[in-house]
């Protein structure tokens, strides 16, 4: 058997167990590889193969280590989703303000027969945006205050579930707000000849859709990580 077979086999197994987080898997693989080879170098008793065996036994079961890393990864991605919620909501707000400022600067008024409808949509937009802001801020503050545990215990599971609900509420409200903005933009562009000044409303809508999409993607990512962590614990 080749000298490096045992250690590379072990780090491969650990990396496979950590597949749920690709960047973490790559990083841990390098760290563990260095650790095991250093342990082998420090243990010259009965030849390198025996030293490798001992180093691997002392390191522990890759599955157990992966379950501990799964909690760390879940916490990292939950926090990231919390930050994305804040940035996404801020992005939508800036895009919204940018569009309104553009309308004012270009004296681009809405046509009279659409004013009533746009008033209704505007109120939906406002409520949806404030709901997204409050839920997003609460979610971010909540997950930032939670300490990452060493194991995925029921208390932490409940904390992640609460955070997930807040983030889902924020994402749903943000989508509603973006949808309302889309309707308002369409009303604004209605009966206006296509020109260069369309660029700002269209670009700002694209920014809003990207922000809401990023938040939805992160929320989905948290759900996937909760599922993979729970699956690791079951096996």
């Amino acid at each position: 058997m080749h000298d490096s077979d045992l250690i590379s086999g072990y780090v491969d197994k650990l990396a496979r167990e950590l597949e749920f987080d690709r960047s973490l898997s790559v990083c841990v693989r390098q760290e563990v590889d260095d650790h095991l080879w250093e342990a082998v170098a420090a243990d010259p008793r009965d030849g390198p193969l025996e030293a490798q065996r001992r180093a691997i036994v002392n390191f522990g079961d890759p599955h157990v280590i992966a379950t501990q890393f799964a909690v760390v990864s879940l916490a990292k991605h939950s926090r990231r989703a919390g930050v994305t919620a804040i940035l996404g909501i801020a992005g939508v707000f800036i895009a919204m303000k940018m569009r309104v400022a553009w309308y004012a600067a270009t004296q681009w008024a809405i046509c009279d027969d659409m004013k009533e409808m746009s008033g209704i949509v505007l109120s939906i937009d406002r409520y949806a945006f404030w709901l997204a802001f409050i839920a997003g801020l609460a979610g971010w503050a909540y997950i930032s205050s939670c300490r990452t545990p060493a194991v995925f215990h029921p208390v932490y599971r409940r904390q992640v579930r609460r955070f997930f609900l807040l983030c889902t509420a924020a994402a749903a409200a943000l989508f509603m707000s973006v949808l309302s903005d889309g309707v308002l933009t369409a009303i604004q562009l209605f009966e206006t000849d296509l020109s260069v000044r369309f660029l700002v409303p269209i670009l700002s809508m694209a920014i809003e859709i990207a922000c809401a999409g990023a938040l939805a993607w992160h929320v989905r990512n948290v759900t996937r990580r909760v599922a993979s962590t729970a699956a690791l614990l079951r096996t």
Binding site: C27, V28, E31, D34, V72, A75, R147, A150
Partner: protein, 110 residues
């Protein structure tokens, strides 16, 4: 029991200066005179968790062997957290010491 204090042990091991995972384990063994012989793999999730909490910072270096090595160091926040945990531990161990080594309960009526 050791598991509940792993974070404090890791922070304490790093109080002497920055180190990589293997050296941290060696330092824990040395300082505890072999009493804390953890499964070595458990230290890495703890290191990543502490880094995420802002108590540690890490950087990659190239070791003499040519391998890439991740070196951890206490941050200012980590130093403060260690001082707080040390104070709590000293208070707790002092109280337990008093309980165990204090006056024996009276067995005969006076």
């Amino acid at each position: 029991m050791l598991k509940g204090h792993l974070d404090m042990i890791v922070l304490a091991a790093l109080s002497a200066g920055s180190a990589h995972g293997y050296a941290i384990i060696e330092e824990i063994r040395r300082r505890s005179r072999g009493a804390f012989d953890l499964p070595e793999g458990t230290i890495y999730p703890a290191l990543h968790r502490l880094e995420q909490a802002g108590l540690l910072a890490s950087r990659w270096v190239t070791a003499e062997s040519g391998r890439r090595r991740r070196v951890y160091a206490l941050t200012r926040r980590g130093n403060r957290a260690l001082a707080e945990r040390r104070a709590v531990w000293e208070q707790f161990s002092g109280a337990i010491g008093d309980m165990l080594g204090g006056a024996r309960p009276c067995t005969t009526p006076t």
